[in-house]
Symmetry: C2
C-alpha cells in the first residue's frame, strides 16, 4: 500500500464521510427488522409489465442510439416530455432550459461543482436533505441553517442572514429549498412563503435551488406554484428526478434553469460522466409516450396516501404524550419531534434491538441541532409493517421516557 | 437572470471548457461527412437480440432489486464476474477491491475528487486521453506531460521529473497511464516499460492509475501483463469499463484498488450519484452469466481488426510522403503525425469542407504541443467510409503540403 494515503487525499476528501443514511440502511437488512429509515419507493409501484413492452420496443426500433453514447444534454424526446409537464405548471421555459442528469444527486453534485469554492456558504433549511448537505460539503461548502416554522424556511431569518452576509461582504452561493413535502420535515411551503423567499433572492441577487423530487406525489390539499413559475428573473434552478415517481433504478433526473446556467451544468457533466445512459432515457421517454406514466403515478399516489393515513392513525393510537409529528400533504416522509430532553441517536440502538429503524434527525441539521427528532418513511414498509413498526417505536420511546 | 453569474462560479468552473471532442462531434453530423473523430464503438457490435432475452429475464426474476436504488459499491454478481476476469489475468484481488462506477469517466472524476487539490500536479502522457485531462483540470489539477517513445511513457523522463519534484517538495498525486492501445497514440507498453514505471512508483511512493478501457480488444501481438498484476504493493488503481467492449449506453465502469482506496471511491460516489443504475448492472451480469459476452467480444475484435487493416492499407495507398502513423495492436485509434510545419487545427476546416473529420492532436497534449498530429478512429466508420475517408483526408493533406 502507498504509505501516505491519508496525506495525499484532497482536502475535500479528508472531510468526506459515508452517508449516515446509507450506512444505517445496512443495519436495517437484518431479518424481522421494520425499517422506516430509507427513502425507497415501494416496489409495488414499479411498472414491470409495461416496462417489458417498452424495453422491447426500444431495442426493436431504436437500439443503435439507445446502446450508443448519447449527448450530454440528454435524449431530446425525454427532454420534450419533461418540458410539457413543466409548461402545464406555468413555467416559462423551452427545451434549452432542460438538461438530463444521472438522477437528482448528480444535479446536487454539479451544482456544488459549478458554484462552490472551499469555504463558500450556502443557505439551507433546518432541517434539510442530507444528500444535498453532503454534496455541498464535498466541495468544501459550508451550509448555514435557516430555521423553519410550519410553512418551511422562515423568510424573516433568511432576510436577517442575507443582510448580515451582505454587510460582511460574503454572500451565499445559493439558497437551497425543497418547497413540496420537504425532506425530512414533510412541510409544504405555501405560495406566500415562496414569494417572500423569491423577493429576497431578487433583492439580494442570490440563486434559489428548488429541489423538487416529491412534488408529483400529493395526497391532499392544493398544489402550490413552483418557485420557478413564480419567478420571471432567472433566479431559480429546479432539480427534478424520476426516482420517487417512476423508477429509482434508472437514475434519471434533470435540471431546469436559465440557459446560461444549463450551459455550465452541461460543461461540468462532460467531465463527470459524459452522458446519462441513453438506454434508460429512451425507455423512460417511450414509457411516457405510451401513456403509462400518468396511470402509474395515480396508483403510486393512492398507495402512499393510504400508507400515510395508516401511519397517522398508528401514531395517534400508539405514541405517548409529548411526541409530535408532521402530517404531510404528500411525499414520502414525516418528521417526529420527541420531548426536548430525549436524544434520537442514543435511542437508535434500542430501536434496532426492538427491530424498528428510523433516521436520526441530527443528520439533517447542519448546525448539529435536532437531537430529539427523527425522520420516518412510509412509502417502503408494507401496511402491516407500518402498524407493527409504529407500535414498536412507541414502546421504545415510552420506555425511554420512564 | 442573476447579474453576477460569472463571478459566483467556482474557480474550477471558471476554467471548464466544453470537451473539444464532444463539440467537434456536433460538426460531424452533417450529411455525407465521414467522421474519424469520435471514439464510438460500431453499432454492429451491439448484441441487441441477446439483450432482449436478458432484459426480459431480469424484469421477470429480479425486477424489485433491478428497479430500486442499489448499493454504492454495485451489484454483487456483476462485481464477481468482473473479479473472475481479472483473477484470470493474474491480479491478486477479491471482491472488496472492486467497485462499480457510472462508466470510466466517473472513475476519473472520483479519482480527481479524492486526490486533487487546486494546484496539485498529476503526471500524464504526451499525448494523453482528453477525458482524463478534463476530469483532473475540473478539480484544479495541473497535468505535467511526460514524453513518449515507441513504448509509451518514457521512464527516464518520468524518473527525472519525479526526482525534481521530490527535491522541490511537491510530488504529483499520481501517474496516469493507458498501457494498452493508448488513446490517442495507439501504443502498447511492453512489460519492461510497465515494470520500469512501477519501480519508479514504488521508489517515489506515488500511485499509478492504469486506465484500461481497450485492453480486451487485441487484434495481434502478445498480451502484456497489467501493471496491477505486476505490482504487489498496492500502488496501482485500475479503471475499467464496458463502454468499448459491450454497451456504451449502459454507462458501466469499475475501479480496482487497495481496499482503503476503494473505500474512498465509495464515500465520494455517495455524494456524486448514490449508485450506478442497478437495472443496467443486472442486465450486464445476466448477459455475462448467459455466456453471451465472450462470443460477442470475439466478433467485435474480428470486426475492428478488419477495419484497422483496411485503414492501414488505405493510409499506405493514399497518404503522401512525410506523413507517418501508428499501427496499433488493438483498440480503436491510430495516431497520425504530419510534417512538422503543418498544423492539424488550421487543416481542420478544410477537412470538414472535404467532408472528413478527425480530432486535432493538441487536444491530447497538456503542454500545447502536438500541432502536427491527429487522432483517427476506425471502429465507428463503415469499411467503405474508411477507404473513402482516408482518400479525402490524404487529398486535404496533399493540397496543404503544396
Amino acid at each position: 500500500m502507498i504509505t501516505n494515503l491519508k496525506e495525499i487525499q484532497s482536502d475535500n476528501a479528508k472531510g468526506m464521510k459515508r452517508s449516515v443514511i446509507r450506512e444505517l440502511l445496512k443495519l436495517t437488512t437484518q431479518p424481522g427488522l421494520i425499517s422506516f429509515a430509507g427513502g425507497l419507493p415501494s416496489p409495488a409501484t414499479f411498472p414491470t409489465d409495461k416496462l417489458k413492452l417498452v424495453v422491447d420496443e426500444v431495442l426493436d426500433t431504436d437500439c443503435k442510439a439507445a446502446l450508443q453514447y448519447g449527448s450530454t444534454e440528454g435524449v431530446i424526446r425525454l427532454r420534450e416530455l419533461i418540458l410539457e409537464n413543466y409548461l402545464e405548471q406555468g413555467l416559462d421555459i423551452n427545451i434549452h432550459n432542460i438538461s438530463i442528469t444521472t438522477a437528482s444527486q448528480q444535479g446536487l453534485d454539479l451544482l456544488a461543482k459549478i458554484f462552490i469554492n472551499p469555504g463558500d456558504n450556502v443557505l439551507v433549511g433546518l432541517p434539510s436533505y442530507l444528500g444535498g448537505l453532503s454534496a455541498f460539503k464535498s466541495y468544501g461548502g459550508v451550509p448555514i441553517g435557516i430555521e423553519f416554522d410550519e410553512h418551511g424556511m422562515r423568510s424573516d431569518i433568511l432576510e436577517e442572514t442575507l443582510e448580515k452576509m451582505k454587510k460582511d461582504g460574503k454572500m451565499p452561493k445559493f439558497i437551497y429549498v425543497i418547497p413540496d413535502f420537504q425532506n425530512p420535515a414533510g412541510i409544504t411551503m405555501p405560495e406566500f412563503r415562496r414569494i417572500e423567499i423569491l423577493e429576497l433572492a431578487k433583492k439580494y441577487d442570490v440563486l434559489v435551488v428548488e429541489d423538487s423530487p416529491y412534488r408529483e406525489i400529493r395526497f391532499e390539499g392544493e398544489d402550490q406554484k413552483m418557485l420557478y413559475a413564480l419567478d420571471n428573473t432567472g433566479h431559480v434552478i429546479v432539480l427534478g428526478t424520476f426516482s420517487k415517481i417512476f423508477v429509482p433504478g434508472f437514475r434519471i433526473g434533470w435540471i431546469i434553469a436559465d440557459e446560461a446556467i444549463v450551459d455550465l451544468f452541461v460543461k461540468a457533466k462532460q467531465a463527470v460522466d459524459l452522458c446519462t445512459s441513453p438506454f434508460v432515457q429512451k425507455i423512460a421517454a417511450k414509457y411516457i409516450d405510451a401513456g403509462y406514466y400518468g396511470e402509474n403515478l395515480l396508483r403510486t399516489i393512492a398507495l402512499y396516501k393510504e400508507k400515510k393515513e395508516m401511519m397517522m392513525k398508528a401514531f395517534e393510537e400508539f405514541m405517548p404524550e409529548g411526541v409530535t409529528w408532521t402530517n404531510p400533504e404528500g411525499g414520502l416522509f414525516l418528521f417526529v419531534v420527541l420531548p426536548e430532553n430525549m436524544d434520537a441517536e442514543t435511542l437508535f440502538p434500542k430501536a434496532i434491538e426492538a427491530k424498528v429503524a428510523y433516521v436520526i434527525g441530527t443528520a439533517f441539521y447542519c448546525n448539529g441541532e435536532g437531537k430529539n427528532t427523527m425522520r420516518i418513511n412510509f412509502s417502503y414498509p408494507s401496511k402491516d409493517q407500518i402498524v407493527e413498526g409504529v407500535k414498536r417505536l412507541a414502546t421504545v420511546i415510552r420506555n425511554e421516557m420512564k
